[in-house]
Subunit: 154 residues, 2 copies
């Protein structure tokens, strides 16, 4: 399993917007240049974050993308799910009920132990990502980074 | 992100072998019939479990696959990693050091906070899967299932 390469781009782009302070806006072109990533593809991925309610897109000469809410209210999970979706890693096709070994329905009223544990592991991944906000990411940046980001993206 | 469909097959195949008791052996053909899955592809995936040290392949008229160790020593993680590998979901390409916004090397001595948290979430997923053994899966099966598995696969 692999997340799309653009996951890193949008996490860092959102992190940069968080460093600009309330209402801070940057265009996809500026953000793409900031990280040397393809501008058209980055813009498309940032639109996915708009649809997910993480960013707001503004138009006009000073338009671009800004955070749709406070950095403390945006989690890594929200950003990752905007890009990769929310479907489960492990697809249970109930093969315990198929084939020569098919278990009768009365033995399948409870979720299969394999599926239950596979889904619990995925829930642990999601919970871990839901526990980290952009505010915490920005707070952990080396001294001087937010100031430089503001200077370059302003 | 999605695990291969065959993840369910091999988890259930290994779970069935665990139900056969010590040394219990079944052919890929029998296991494929048991779950109505493609025998050639299942055999290929079971060979991946042999390479991972989870199963042993035996030859001869009564040959097939059996567990390489006790069900209490085989975790869901070992099986999943045999099929899907061990590479990280999140690939950090250090884009913080690229482009116009590139941070200087002295600000990049510590791992990036985004990468650190992305990897921590994945570690939580792996830890959750490493915490469940085939012995626990078998212990949680409805009454009568292991007996039927033994009758059908013997």
């Amino acid at each position: 399993m692999k997340l799309p390469e653009s996951t890193e781009w949008v996490l860092h782009a959102a992190g940069s917007l968080a460093q600009l302070g309330p209402g801070g806006t940057a265009s996809a072109a500026k953000l793409a240049e900031h990280f040397d990533v393809p501008p058209t593809y980055l813009a498309k991925q940032l639109q996915a974050l708009v649809r997910a309610g993480v960013l707001t897109a503004t138009t006009g000469p000073r338009g671009g993308f800004r955070l749709a809410k406070s950095p403390g209210d945006i989690t890594l999970l929200q950003i990752v799910e905007a890009i990769d979706g929310t479907s489960q890693f492990y697809q249970c096709n109930e093969i315990r009920q198929r084939g020569r070994g098919a278990a009768p329905p009365e033995q399948c009223r409870k979720i299969c132990g394999i599926a239950r544990n596979m889904h619990a592991a995925e829930a642990a991944w999601r919970a871990s990502l839901a526990d980290v906000t952009l505010a915490e990411i920005v707070a952990g940046l080396p001294r001087g980074v937010p100031q430089r980001t503001r200077t370059l993206l302003a």
